[in-house]
């Protein structure tokens, strides 16, 4: 028999509609304008751990967007004021209790915001969406490492990371790069131990995990990137945005080298984004929030399928 029924309950689907209304209401009250950008673009992210879905068209390959970030930055460079977008985003092979290849993302940009302002707005928006005040714990990436291992980030050498990762049952550790090991150890051995009953904000990521964040003007090896977790569930990721076109081009190149090293398919860098940065992106901060994850918290479920009308395996 065909399994045609939704994976979410009707109550949870209604809850989603209410959450969407609350998102739009929040941004309307704060004069942030809703925008739309294409879901199928000629370019996509170069980040090695984000896998885009390529779509064949009569034109050269297009990609389902993994985030509307590049397009929204082109709007900002063209003079768009504070803006937000609620859209579907797609990431190949990401399916599990907390992941669905097709998911709903909220992305917004604030001109002139610094790291503290954007972190503050993100946590207060989550409180509004969840309808209750939350305890908020903010600490830097380095502080989190210090709390758990009692040492500095620089002290975490490869043998230490390999040992930690292996003791957690990670197979073939020797094949992983230093960055992949650190990533694994941070997410599996550090993050779970700094969580508390509320939101946990981690900021100041190492340069290797910069993505599109600006380098901290006071500390050259740290970037102005933050992530928000609720009981180890990652809810949002934000940056004070990198506005320098040359640095952005270098990061694209670096991504390309890592992709080659990991044997990943080549994707061309987005030259239109680079041109937009070159013409001038105003100082701004931006955040991507996984709205399905917020809805999971609202509906008190640890399975994303229960908040999606039809999850990946039933779509």
């Amino acid at each position: 028999m065909q399994d045609w029924r939704p994976t979410a309950s009707i109550e949870n689907i209604q809850q989603r509609a209410q959450m969407m209304a609350a998102v739009r209401d929040y941004f309307k009250r704060h004069n942030v304008i809703e925008v739309e950008t294409p879901l199928l673009c000629a370019r996509t992210v170069t980040e090695p751990h984000i896998d885009s879905i390529a779509v064949s068209t009569e034109q050269p390959t297009r990609y389902l967007q993994t985030s509307p970030e590049y397009a929204m930055k082109r709007l900002l460079a063209a003079g768009m004021p504070d803006c937000y977008q609620v859209c579907k985003a797609f990431r190949q092979s990401e399916n599990g209790a907390r992941h669905n290849t097709e998911f709903t993302m909220l992305e917004w940009y604030r001109l002139g915001f610094d790291l503290n302002q954007i972190m503050q707005e993100t946590t207060s928006l989550i409180e509004i969406l969840l309808g209750k005040p939350l305890a908020i714990k903010t600490l830097s990436y380095c502080q989190a490492i210090k709390q758990v291992f009692g040492c500095e980030l620089a002290d975490l050498d490869r043998p230490f990371l390999v040992h930690q990762a292996s003791s957690k049952g990670l197979m073939n550790v020797q094949q992983l790069s230093y960055e992949q090991c650190l990533d694994y150890v941070f997410s599996q051995c550090v993050l779970p131990h700094v969580q508390h009953d509320g939101l946990c904000v981690i900021h100041g990521y190492p340069l290797a995990q910069a993505a599109l964040a600006r380098v901290n003007p006071q500390q050259a090896d740290v970037v102005e990137r933050f992530e928000v977790f609720f009981h180890n569930l990652e809810c949002a990721n934000g940056y004070v945005e990198l506005t320098d076109a040359d640095q952005q081009a270098q990061r694209f190149d670096k991504d390309q080298q890592r992709r080659a090293k990991y044997g990943l398919p080549e994707v061309e860098s987005d030259e239109r984004l680079l041109a937009a940065l070159d013409s001038g992106l105003p100082d701004c901060a931006g955040v991507a929030m996984g709205l399905d994850r917020i809805l999971m918290l609202l509906c008190a479920t640890d399975n994303i399928a229960e908040v999606l009308s039809f999850d990946w395996s039933h779509a």
């Binding site: 980040e47 751990h49 984000i50 092979s93 990401e94 399916n95 599990g96 209790a97 907390r98 992941h99 957690k168 049952g169 990670l170 197979m171 073939n172 094949q175 992983l176 992949q180 990533d183 694994y184 941070f186 997410s187 599996q188 995990q209 993505a211 992530e227 990652e234 990721n237």
Partner: protein, 189 residues
Amino acid sequence: MANYNTNEFKSGLKIMLDGDPYTIVENEFVKPGKGQAFNRVKVRNLKTGRVVDKTFKSGDSVEGADVMEVDMQYLYSDGEQWHFMDPNSFEQHAADETAVGDAAQWLKEQDICVVTLYNGAPLSVMAPNFVELTITQSDPGIKGDTAQGATKPATLETGAVVKVPLFVEEGEVIRIDTRSGEYTSRVKD
């Protein structure tokens, strides 16, 4: 044997790890937003029964284990080997003491068991959840001893000894839950 990519992982999949066959009990996809994706699995060693946690980088592949669970009829034991037959193919398999393990004490000829074959040879045998066996020896219950839940030992036709209520007598057939090794009821003809 085929290799399995982590995106084919699901519970019940049989894989080889460090030279031993394992079955996946649970599979969880783990991915920090910008970071490497992993599959965290709970796997059970099919030889020892031990459950351990392992994590694979997503996209890695793992060798599949040639393991099948087949319903087979228990034929007889020659003292060293226990002989089973696949009722569909009539193919016979001999299992040694390690493979039969605790199941040995519940096996009665003709019963259907689940035999796990690894590379074509029996790796483990699971007795049916319930078996009906005859009591070959049990002392009569002492009259007047009617304390609630009082039991006495009874030896079964397979040699197993179980605790039975005092009113159960030698020669009777009883039903046993092999998972707990406990008496559940008398079987009336």
